[in-house]
């Protein structure tokens, strides 16, 4: 789940960690009520600063995905399905926006982009 954390990327590690967790919860990899690794173990495993892990857990707790029970650890909250789909859509728009920015830089026009997407999706559908 956390295999491609990239310390070199400009987005801070806690943000990368948080988005990975959010995705996992959204995609159902982490079922509600499941316990997350302790800050100490995850930090040691990923060899990142413990503060990074704590901040990621706190952000997600703030967003309602996780709950940190004092002394017992961190658990996945029961997220309503609507919440999970809206999260997935949000992820999709982020991906698309990134795609468009890259296309612009490469001088690819929107129509060409659109037709490429349809073609790819068509191949996938058939």
């Amino acid at each position: 789940m956390f295999d491609h954390i990239d310390p070199r990327s400009p987005t801070p590690l806690y943000a990368q960690l948080a988005s990975r967790l959010r995705l996992a919860v959204a995609a159902g990899e982490l079922r509600p009520g499941e316990a997350l690794p302790s800050v100490r173990r995850l930090a040691a495993q990923l060899r990142v600063n413990p503060a990074t892990v704590v901040q990621a857990y706190r952000d997600l707790e703030h967003e309602g995905f996780l709950e940190m029970r004092q002394g017992a650890g961190t658990f996945v909250r029961d997220v309503p399905t609507g919440r999970r789909t809206s999260e997935r859509i949000r992820q999709a728009t982020v991906l698309v926006r990134q795609l468009i920015a890259d296309a612009g830089r490469l001088g690819v026009s929107l129509d060409e982009l659109h037709s490429a997407i349809l073609e790819e999706m068509g191949a996938k559908a058939s």
Binding site: P7, P10, R40, R41, A43, A44, Q45, V48, N49
Partner: protein, 303 residues
Amino acid sequence: MTHAIDIRGLHYRAGRSFEIPSLDLRVPTGAIYGFLGPNGSGKTTTIRLVLGLLRPRAGDIRVLDRPMPRQAADVLARVGYVPEQPHLDPTLTVREAMRFQAAFYPTWDHAWAEELLVAFELDERRLFGKLSKGQKGKLMMLLALAQRPELLVLDEPTDGLDPVVRRDMLAALIDYVSEGGATVFISSHLVHELERMCDWIGVMDQGRLVTELPMERFKNGIKRLVVSGAPPAVAAPFSLLSRERNGAATETWLVRGWEPEMHAFFDSVGASLQRVIDLDLEDGFVELLRTFRTLPPRPEEVR
């Protein structure tokens, strides 16, 4: 105690060869402080001064809130040190080296030492001299960690070691830090490793401290801007480190202290900011050093 290490106006000179004219360095308690710098920039000397192995000519060094090197003996009992060159006696076996070290540190944790011994897969009967470079590194880390220090001073602990050994050592280090909240002062050339772990970065070059910032501010602070149509002289809200023309239309600026809202500045001077390129720690470090050596040193706005 706000800072585990607090160096003010340190001046040190060894013969004619090398000098630290004046150094101010402060490591917040509980931080993992990465100490970057090219070879020969005085990193190891600074570390030895912090540990009281060397006596400064002037300046005030306080480690764990105690003056060094006057109270070196008491402070060193609470500091774990992994030197650049393993300095243990080669004729002692791993077990004997551990027993030797344990006798000197009141806070030595025997149980944890055994745990680490197993975790690091060290054969306790082998002579220290016969261990591989990686095993020696692991043993040094073991000895430093097993004494449960409040401050860990690591001088390029993982340099030149294979990834597996590095992973084990850093995992144990992070495990200890996250458990006890100890402070780590680690110098290394493996920049991306520091990037993962450190929340503070200090850069040293030619005996002077270039900058000392939290990791985020260091990384976000340095950007490369692709600009077109900018007038030659410009007074910018950020510090312009270098300007290079690439092709007819655009220039690449290297800037420090960049804030997102500074986009407006370009409109005000009639230039257009095409792109903001982020730098990772390594690029940032390299660029910083390159420009630092060209620009005359001027007092940094620190923190």
